[in-house]
């Protein structure tokens, strides 16, 4: 077993290229810039394209064009850039354009602190679009996850034709660690599905057994239309309310009905534990230390680490929290995913521990909170 030293951002880039990404466009922004730098080293020699856009809007716009031309595309930014991506995220949702978007979150609001971490954008990734239709958001814990979940993100973007976010964090993206590169799984690669021959092609038509339209590239032999306007199956503007309603339903159901197929998580359930820590991202590293220590001391807690944040994996949350008396949600923000947890398991006692001050939540604070939660019985 030999290790390589790499940071989360590098791992993200390697995972992207492994999954077939051949187009990256981005604007430099701390702490995401090293993803652009890695893609700039990786893509051109492979015949891929790496573009430094004049701004974030141009970068994600170029990604959407290249994706409709058939390439697997990625862009990477932090909070201030995500704000600029918003209109194009909405377009990618409505136009069903596959794209992977990495947000290496930093302390906000706004410009905030470029060199400090936070998980302050986890709701923004889901709701920072007009219309509020669902997207997929995956949350890596460490460099290994950055590789693997980015790879999965591309597969999901292809399968569901939607934006897939990687909710990273400065504390993951710019932390170097030992990774056994050879042992990293390389999942099979999924490509967007082309239509079976025999029917005239309608770009947004779906047969009864599919929720995702077949894809043909702009530039191929069959003419393809793409539009940000409300459209019918033919890609032209529609004003037919029934048609619009059907389409919106399908866009929503496309992801919500399928979430069990891409619910990534780690679980450490202890039958004797009355408290379950529920967390995601870099905070999970501290939570694991607490879990380990308490298990060794014979005063166990359970631990559930979410790696799919959106759509909310409701079934998973309900199932895994069933056995615990108290749920302690820990986040590197002032409480965002905890809102979903409380919504999904309203009958449970859900406590929250968080901070958004540029510092990690350390094991000692989680420990302290567990003691407080368990003593108020």
């Amino acid at each position: 077993m030999a290790f390589s030293l790499l940071e989360g951002n590098e791992a993200t880039a390697w995972g992207a290229v492994g999954a077939g990404c051949r187009f990256f466009a981005g604007y430099p922004i701390t702490p995401a810039t090293s993803i652009f730098e890695a893609m700039l080293e990786l893509l051109p020699p492979l015949g891929g394209i790496c573009l430094q856009g004049e701004d974030e809007i141009a970068s994600i716009g170029a990604c959407l064009g290249a994706s409709m031309a058939g390439l697997k595309v990625m862009t990477a930014t932090s909070g201030p850039g995500l704000s600029l991506y918003s209109e194009h995220i909405s377009f990618a949702i409505g136009g069903e354009i596959p794209i992977v978007i990495v947000d290496v979150q930093r302390l906000g609001p706004s410009t905030g602190s470029a060199t400090r971490g936070a998980d302050g954008d986890v709701q923004f990734m889901r709701w920072g679009c007009s219309g509020g239709l669902p997207v997929i958001v995956l949350a890596p814990v460490d460099a290994r996850d950055c590789f693997l979940l980015t790879w999965h993100a591309f597969n999901l973007a292809e399968e569901y034709r939607c934006p897939v976010f990687i909710a990273s964090n400065k504390e993951i993206g710019l932390t170097k660690e030992s990774v056994d590169l050879e042992a990293l799984p390389r999942p099979p690669i999924i490509d967007r599905a082309a239509p079976p021959p025999g029917r005239p092609f309608l770009p947004f038509e779906t047969p009864p057994d599919r929720l995702t339209p077949y894809f043909l590239p702009i530039g191929g032999k069959v003419l393809v239309r793409q539009t940000s306007s409300t459209h019918g199956p033919d890609g032209y503007i529609t004003t037919n309310h029934e048609e619009i309603a059907r389409s919106q339903d399908r866009l929503e159901k496309k992801l919500l009905a399928a979430v069990s197929r891409f619910t990534f998580y780690e679980e450490y359930l202890e039958a004797k534990a009355e408290t379950l820590i529920l967390c995601y991202g870099v905070t999970a590293r501290a939570a694991k230390d607490v879990y380990q220590k308490r298990k060794e001391q014979g005063r166990p807690v359970s631990l559930l680490i979410l790696k799919t944040l959106w759509p909310t994996p409701e079934d998973l949350i309900k199932e895994k929290t069933r056995g615990a008396k108290n749920i302690l949600v820990v986040e590197m923000n002032l409480g965002q995913i905890v809102r979903e947890i409380r919504r999904v398991i309203p009958e449970k006692r859900v406590e929250f521990l968080g901070r958004m001050d540029g510092r990690l939540v350390p094991p000692a604070r989680i420990e302290e909170m567990i003691r407080r939660v368990q003593s108020t019985e």
Partner: protein, 390 residues
């Protein structure tokens, strides 16, 4: 061929053609066009925007000019935002009557061709939408290999001409009042972006994955160790952290390295927090450093509260001359300056001192690490420094 359209009345343009079509957001048409053309160089990409789109998309026009990617931009310029009710655009004359009240009287209308020329456009044309040889003008632009911009002036019967006396003749007259543009812009001639990109990319070597480091040594300590390196920007603190990590890998340890620094370039503190452990590492912050390398004033100041919490089991290697807050930790002062060691070598020197004590890392681990990290002259001087300090 693909028609890429923008928002507004001109945004319906793609629906008049039996081609591939991409109708996107306001001002952003050139961004999609860029992605499409880079992905499919053999695709003819034609972009239409109104005078509305060129306002909001100004930055993208300038960038398209600078890049000279083979796109053709047709600006359908009718001097107002027609679709939203006739507000002024970037090209509306100050004396026009529009739906923005008196506001257009306050803004100067842009000559987009002059702006494009200044930004490096290699092909510019301007004419009336009623021009007898409009197709010829368009053909010239379409055939140009590079970015071509055509500013086509027209009438907006829905909103503009109801309140303003604009006719085809008035348009012809207006055109003569601006500096002429007639096709290729000689002073801006240059390589087409896509072709040039592919040419440069073809000369590049494929990237190799990060080097895998085998365990070839045994560590002096088989427990989790935390090392905090405190210094100033420019002291190669982060490099030292990486070297320490690599040293750990040569002994089969797992490592993490987390750095802190300000946004200012080459100024302020530089802090590296390294953990080495035989087990998988969870939390990446340092709770109880075993060793602190105190090498720079800014770094020490940034973490000043740490010092009073340290106990005698912690070792601090301190650069002589630095003031430390009071602490119960064991302090070893090193006169790096007196030994004529440059400030940006103090971190490596401190690691060598540590290795000489067989604390955290052995001299062999350190030497193996610098072999991985440095080459040539840099490796030689690193070796010399380590031999001196160990």
């Amino acid at each position: 061929m693909v028609m890429v359209s923008d928002i507004g009345c001109s945004g319906l343009f793609d629906t008049f053609f039996n081609t591939h079509a991409f109708h996107g957001l306001h001002g952003r048409a050139l961004t999609y066009a860029t992605g499409l053309k880079l992905a499919r160089p053999d695709l003819k990409v034609v972009v239409t925007m109104g005078d509305g789109g060129i306002g909001i998309g100004g930055a993208h026009i300038l960038s398209a000019c600078r890049r000279n990617l083979d796109l053709t931009l047709l600006i359908l310029n009718n001097f107002n935002f027609g679709m939203t009710g006739g507000q002024f655009s970037a090209t509306t004359p100050p004396d026009a009557v529009v739906s923005s009240g008196f506001l257009n009287r306050l803004e100067f209308p842009i000559d987009i061709c002059q702006a494009a020329r200044a930004a490096g456009a290699t092909y510019l044309a301007r004419c009336s939408g009623f021009h007898k040889d409009l197709s010829g003008v368009m053909e010239g632009a379409l055939r140009h290999e590079g970015f071509a911009l055509v500013d086509i002036w027209g009438l907006c019967p829905g909103r503009y001409t109801g309140r303003n006396k604009l006719t085809p003749r008035a348009i012809e007259e207006g055109l003569t009042r601006l500096p002429p543009v007639a096709g290729p812009v000689e002073e801006n001639a240059g390589k087409e972006y896509g072709r040039h990109y592919r040419e440069l990319a073809a000369a590049l070597q494929p990237a190799s994955p990060p080097a895998s480091i085998d365990k070839i040594l045994d560590p002096p300590e088989k427990v989790r160790s935390e090392v905090m390196i405190l210094g100033d920007a420019g002291q190669r603190i982060i490099t030292a952290g990486e070297i320490l990590c690599r040293a750990g890998l040569t002994a089969g340890l797992r490592v993490t390295q987390k750095n802190e620094y300000n946004i200012t370039v080459l100024r302020g503190p530089s802090i590296s927090e390294v953990i080495l452990s035989p087990r998988e590492i969870g939390f990446t912050g340092l709770e109880r450093p075993n060793v602190v390398l105190a090498l720079g004033r800014e770094g020490v100041q940034r973490r000043s509260v740490l010092f009073e919490r340290l106990g005698p089991e912690t070792l601090i290697i301190q650069a002589q001359g630095l003031n430390l807050p009071s602490t119960r930790a064991e302090v070893r002062r090193m006169d790096f300056r007196g030994q004529k060691i440059k400030s940006n070598d103090w971190a490596l020197a401190a690691l060598a001192v540590l290795a000489g004590m067989n604390r955290i890392l052995s001299p062999e681990m350190l030497k193996a690490a610098i072999k991985i990290r440095f080459a040539g002259e840099a490796l030689e001087s690193a070796r010399k420094l380590i031999d001196k300090m160990v």
